[in-house]
């Protein structure tokens, strides 16, 4: 727990309760000491996950996200540099907390966009399975859109989930034998059928 005196919360975009380290200027400078850098990386990792979960952000595009208050503390006039941002995301990818999304067609925009796993696909799989259970939708076929945007998922954590993440979560369930992808006549993935957990 921190004993820092001031807790700055920049409420420009969100009311996200930033931790006090967010007001510590060295936090925005890449530390040359490797041990300190490791700690700094893990703090940024946590901060990004918390921020994205709080604001229900599934993807980060660095070209725009670099302007967010997440990476800019205007109270102390400090911001994280883009290359440091990339290093942070790289380390998140290594840990499995994020995944780079290859840019749409162009080589230049490589590694600027990333999926943030503030819940891992396994967690999402559990949550979806629980939701299916509790809403009695076993053995029914749901479209992917229905899971993310349907009336029944309105209050759910995975409301508006990124299709890529949802697909990965479903893959976990399929591997467990709890779900099955249904294909339409022309080979398109049309929906998913859930089975009860054994």
């Amino acid at each position: 727990m921190s004993t820092l005196p001031s807790l700055s919360t920049s409420s420009r975009n969100t009311s996200f309760p930033f931790p006090s380290i967010y007001s510590f200027p060295p936090f925005f400078t890449r530390q040359p000491n490797s041990q300190t850098w490791t700690s700094q990386l893990s703090l940024w990792n946590s901060l990004i996950l918390a921020y994205c979960r709080y604001n229900r952000i599934w993807r980060i595009d660095l070209n725009t996200a670099i302007e967010w208050d997440l990476f800019n503390n205007r109270d102390i006039n400090r911001s994280l540099k883009l290359e440091t941002c990339k290093e942070v995301l790289d380390s998140m990818v290594m840990k499995g907390d994020a995944e780079w999304v290859s840019g749409s067609g162009s080589h230049v925009s490589k590694n600027t966009s990333a999926i943030i796993y503030w819940r891992r696909p396994e967690e999402w799989a559990n949550i979806i399975a629980d939701w299916i259970d509790s809403t009695g939708q076993k053995n029914t076929i749901l479209t992917l859109y229905e899971i993310a945007e349907g009336d029944l998922s309105l209050s759910q954590d995975f409301r508006g989930i990124d299709p890529t993440i949802l697909r990965k979560a479903l893959d976990v369930l399929i591997r467990r034998g709890q779900a099955q992808i249904m294909k339409s006549a022309d080979g398109e993935e049309a929906g998913v059928k859930f089975f009860g957990s054994q």
Binding site: L4, S20, T36, S39, Q40, Y54, I76
Partner: protein, 432 residues
């Protein structure tokens, strides 16, 4: 065979004086001499004893009439004493003139100096007088008397005009002075002596200058002392004076390689000791106990004044501080910067002092401030280079973290390492 010899013996008047010793022989002496040398080469012996010109002939050459050195026949001047030699092969007419010239003036006792040659008094520093048949004691007594009475002073007054004309004559003759042979060498060495004397005089001037410089330094020091004690003196004047007296000199004599004659080791040891003394005289305290090697080198060389030392010697002297148990030591930062610091403080002690200070100030001034190298410079007196090195050392040990921005680099207590944040619990109230 020599006409002159016969003349002497046969002449009716008083015989001419001996040209070697200047004494006029009586007829009886000549007769005795004649008898003594009967049967031997008569002419040669007579010649040697009393004849003014020429020299004793033997197979190698002929002897100088003054010093009897046997010269080569073709020489015109004696190789030993520089006297003019008159060969007996001289045509009789010339010879006659030469002898006449010598005998003409009765007032002077003739000398073997060739006729007409007179040395300028200024050119002669000494006269060599040989006594071949005794009489030196009498001469010495007479000389003493003359020197006591200072006869020459009375005499110059009388001869006045004559002296002047003689002077003119002698000046033209000096140019004919022998420049060759041993006599020439002697004259040269005399001149060399004079030149050296002059040089010594001028160097004495330099010495006295140095003497004055030392006095000036001590004067400046007393001024500095007085000023530092006196109230109401502006601070700038005080520091300026202190610096100037520091720049002027060292308190102990400058160590030079030549002084420590017995090898390099002694030289470096002496140099190290003087450096330690120099550092001890407030230099290091002013720099906050640590200073870079180049700062010290510049300061020390300025204090030495003209006799600078090379960086190599300086470094070697500094590197034996610890060996000599002097209270200083060298320390190298990981960036390669070498500093001199007091030996009692370990690197860690110095560093933890810095870290403690940063921790307390950051608590006093608030988290978002931190310190710069300049702040450290003001607090501890270390130069900015050293301050930065110390800060980076603390950073490497994980005690500090840095904040680089357009405003420069500031150093903070390392909260990143110690900060713990359970975001799932704090933000989302989850229990894990």
């Amino acid at each position: 065979s020599f006409s002159n010899a016969m003349k002497v013996a046969d002449s009716d008047g008083p015989p001419p004086p001996c040209l070697t010793c200047g004494i006029r022989p009586t007829v009886s002496v000549i007769e005795q001499a004649k008898e003594a040398i009967a049967g031997v080469n008569k002419a040669a012996h007579l010649y040697s004893a009393h004849l003014p010109i020429g020299g004793v002939e033997n197979e190698n050459g002929f002897a100088c009439p003054r010093c009897t050195f046997v010269n080569h026949p073709s020489l015109l001047q004696c190789e030993m004493c520089g006297a003019t030699l008159v060969s007996k092969n001289l045509p009789p007419t010339l010879l006659d003139n030469a002898v006449k010239d010598l005998v003409v003036n009765e007032r002077y006792s003739p000398s073997p100096t060739p006729p007409g040659v007179r040395y300028n008094d200024d050119d002669i520093d000494y006269i060599k007088i040989s006594f071949r048949t005794g009489g030196e004691r009498i001469f010495l007594d007479k000389l003493k008397n003359v020197l006591q009475d200072r006869i020459w002073e009375r005499r110059t007054r009388n001869i006045g005009t004559v002296g002047a004309s003689q002077d003119r004559r002698s000046r033209t003759l000096t140019q004919r002075l022998p420049k060759l042979g041993i006599h020439g060498l002697e004259i040269q060495s005399v001149k060399e002596c004079q030149r050296n004397l002059e040089l010594m005089h001028s160097l004495n001037d330099l010495d006295s200058l140095m003497q004055k410089a030392k006095e000036m330094v001590s004067l400046a020091e007393t001024f500095a002392m007085r000023l530092s004690n006196a109230p109401g003196v502006p601070e700038e004047a005080r520091t300026a004076l202190l610096e100037s007296s520091e720049a002027l000199s060292l308190s102990s004599p400058i160590v030079m390689r030549e002084m420590a004659g017995s090898g390099d080791e002694t030289f470096y040891a002496e140099l190290a000791r003087q450096l330690a003394e120099f550092l001890d005289n407030g230099v290091l305290v002013k720099e906050g106990g640590i200073m870079t090697l180049f700062d010290l080198y510049a300061l020390y060389n300025r204090a030495r004044g003209l006799s600078l030392i090379s960086p190599k010697d300086f470094y070697r002297a500094c590197s034996i501080f610890e060996k000599l148990r002097l209270p200083f030591r060298l320390r190298q930062f990981r960036t390669g910067v070498v500093v001199v610091q007091e030996a009692y403080y370990s690197d860690d002690a110095v560093n933890s002092m810095l870290i403690d200070w940063i921790k307390t100030t950051s608590r006093e001034r608030g988290i978002s401030l931190g310190v710069t190298a300049q702040d450290v410079n003001q607090r501890f007196g270390w130069s900015v280079t050293i301050a930065l090195e110390e800060l980076e050392t603390a950073e490497v040990s994980g005690n500090l973290s840095r904040d680089s921005s357009v405003e420069g680099t500031r150093f903070y207590e390392n909260l990143i390492n110690t900060f713990r944040w359970n975001w799932k619990k704090e933000v989302f109230q989850e229990r894990y």
